[in-house]
């Protein structure tokens, strides 16, 4: 596929997604709409890890640390100000700053990739324990009591920007969440096309070569990590808006693992893959939840094993490769009658093209 065709297709896909978000409320009932709202907030979380892992080569086992911090930052601010506008801002800012501090320590301390996984995992566990032990009046930020293992109920949900009196209806929340997903996708897409994004991909491809050309891999990875933290934080705010509640289980390791599964299934190294994987799995889990025959974790595990064995690249890259192969075949067939020689040029795909 050449550049312009690809861009047009991408623009059409975005347009289709916008239309889908716009018309969804008139096709599904409220319960389903709420469920889709949840899926979209989770898909933003999926994008945050899909971005840092797929394009920065940073595998964080504790992306929920930023998700949870964003959720708590939102809840605390929203309760104190009774306005979601500053709360959403802080939900992005607090985890981004936390990622900056943690990432500085990890990347500038030249800690190896393996330990990065261990550290993010440990930090998540620590955060869980910290928030879990904040029961009682002593643990309050302003008028917001953290509530320990009971969490924080009745968190104010989104309102119109700077207008706390007009709380959003579920339908409007859907628009905001679906819109946020599309906006984050577009934002990351543009970021990857920028000079910075290209350098980030280069660092993932070959850190040594990037450094020998004069790029500082530590700085590049740190910035990617911070962006991922901010996006995960936004997902946290969207999540709290959906349930009006946040508790320490938001730092659960099982959720961290689930994000990794979404990405493996949807396709690492793409932006659309994590979204697709998240939707599929979340939908499946919700369907399994409605009956008793299968255990959700068991099914998830089985699906992961099947994918790792049969579709190791994940859904999106596999489908893309099939389409490309079909396209090439069709073109060659058209050409052959004309008696033209077809030289098999090294085809394949630049990474990060999706």
């Amino acid at each position: 596929m050449n550049g312009p065709v690809k861009l047009t297709l991408q623009a059409l896909a975005i347009l289709a997604a916008c239309v889908a978000v716009a018309v969804m409320p008139s096709y599904v009932d409220l319960f389903q709409l709420m469920q889709f709202t949840l899926f979209c907030s989770m898909a933003v979380l999926a994008l945050s890890l899909g971005f840092i892992w797929g394009f920065g080569g940073i595998l964080s086992f504790g992306q929920t640390a930023f998700f949870g911090l964003g959720a708590y930052a939102y809840a605390v601010t929203a309760i104190n100000f009774q306005d979601s506008t500053p709360a959403i801002l802080l939900a992005v800012l607090v985890p981004a700053l936390f990622a900056l501090a943690l990432g500085y320590f990890v990347f500038y301390g030249r800690i190896s990739d393996v330990y990065l996984g261990v550290i993010t995992l440990t930090v998540t566990l620590i955060l869980f324990n910290v928030f879990n032990s904040t029961a009682g009046d002593a643990y309050a930020i302003g008028s917001a009591r953290l509530g320990g293992f009971n969490g924080m109920p009745a968190v104010p949900t989104f309102n119109m920007p700077f207008d706390p009196s007009s709380i959003l209806f579920p339908e409007q929340s859907w628009y905001v969440t679906g819109g946020a997903l599309i906006a984050v996708y577009l934002g990351l897409r543009l970021l990857l096309r920028s000079s910075f994004g290209r350098v980030a991909i280069a660092v993932r491809e070959n850190e040594t070569r990037a450094a020998l050309l004069g790029y500082d891999p530590r700085l590049v990875k740190l910035l990617v990590f911070v962006v991922g933290g901010g996006v995960a934080g936004l997902a946290g705010a969207l999540y709290v808006n959906w349930g009006a509640f946040v508790g320490p289980t938001i730092f659960a390791l099982s959720l961290s693992a689930e994000i990794i599964i979404w990405i493996c299934i949807g396709g690492l190294g793409t932006l659309i893959g994590p979204i697709v994987g998240c939707f599929l799995i979340e939908y499946l889990v919700s369907q399994i939840g409605t009956q008793q025959a299968f255990n959700a974790n068991l099914v998830l595990g089985a699906i992961l094993v099947v994918f790792v064995l049969l579709l190791p690249k994940g859904l999106v890259p596999t489908v893309r490769d099939l389409l490309l192969a079909a396209g090439r075949l069709a073109r060659e067939r058209n050409r052959r009658p004309a008696g033209e020689e077809t030289h098999a040029l090294p085809g394949g795909h630049p990474v990060g093209a999706e």
């Binding site: 350098v199 280069a202 450094a211 050309l213 040029l345």
Partner: protein, 246 residues
């Protein structure tokens, strides 16, 4: 009048890996615009020397000066920004990216000094033509032949426009024609920049060399003109013996 300061100078440069002394008390100097060849048997310490010059290894001992900058122990990207570029012995490219993207990444960093996207694009086109991979600009580097990947790496080094270029076995895996082309490019680059070239192929060395430094067991054994080095009996013994006789 003081002598003109060398472009690059190492003093007592030493690199130990446990018990192995890969570089032992190396005192080396390179003039501005000089083209130097490094030869020596496998394991003599040539690649280790390059790794210290480019920050991939921190010397156990000794100093490196590039112009006025002491650079021993600096990080690779800091040294690269001062203007030292390297083609490593093992092809070191962005395998998942296109040829054009590989070269662009180098050019963009170089053009950043002038903050110009146009400049980067111009460098990319110029370099693609120079390494004769214009026709494969959109090909993925990982799917090219070993020789072509060498060219891509040479291309990225050129596009970064360094003051000093280090080439570690640039002709390895190339055809005779490609080797001749490499020699031609090296002479061309040398009109404006300094180079150090590690190579085994003596024919290639004869094509490009003026002054040759011989490494042996981590030390500089000899430093002289090509003719003198080739005529030296010690050099023949440790390194050239079989090849020259053959």
């Amino acid at each position: 009048m003081a002598e003109i300061a060398p472009l690059l100078e190492t003093r007592n440069l030493t690199m130990r890996f446990g018990g192995v002394v890969a570089n032992d008390d190396v005192n080396f100097a390179l003039e501005e615009m000089e083209l130097r060849c490094l030869i020596g048997p496998n394991g003599a310490g040539k690649s280790t020397f390059f790794k210290m010059l480019t920050g991939q290894l921190t010397p156990t001992q000794g100093t490196i000066r590039f112009r006025t900058h002491p650079i021993a122990g600096n990080l690779p990207h800091q040294i690269a920004r001062l203007g030292i570029g390297i083609k490593t012995q093992i092809p070191n490219v962005f395998n998942g990216l296109s040829v054009r993207e590989n070269v662009w990444l180098a050019a963009a960093r170089a053009a950043r000094r002038e903050a110009s996207a146009k400049r980067a694009a111009a460098i990319v086109d110029e370099v693609l033509e120079r390494i004769r991979l214009g026709g494969l600009a959109e090909a993925i580097v990982g799917q090219l032949s070993h020789g072509q990947r060498q060219w891509v790496e040479i291309g990225t080094v050129l596009a970064a426009e360094p003051e000093l270029i280090l080439l570690d076995e640039p002709a390895a895996g190339m055809t005779d024609e490609e080797t001749a082309r490499t020699a031609e490019i090296i002479r061309e680059i040398n009109r404006t920049r300094a180079l150090i070239v590690v190579e085994h192929d003596m024919e290639f060395i004869k094509m490009i060399a003026k002054k040759v430094t011989v490494f042996h067991q981590g030390r500089i054994m000899m430093e002289d003109t090509v003719e003198a080095v080739l005529a030296d009996s010690r050099v023949r013994d440790v390194y050239l013996g079989k090849k020259v006789a053959a």
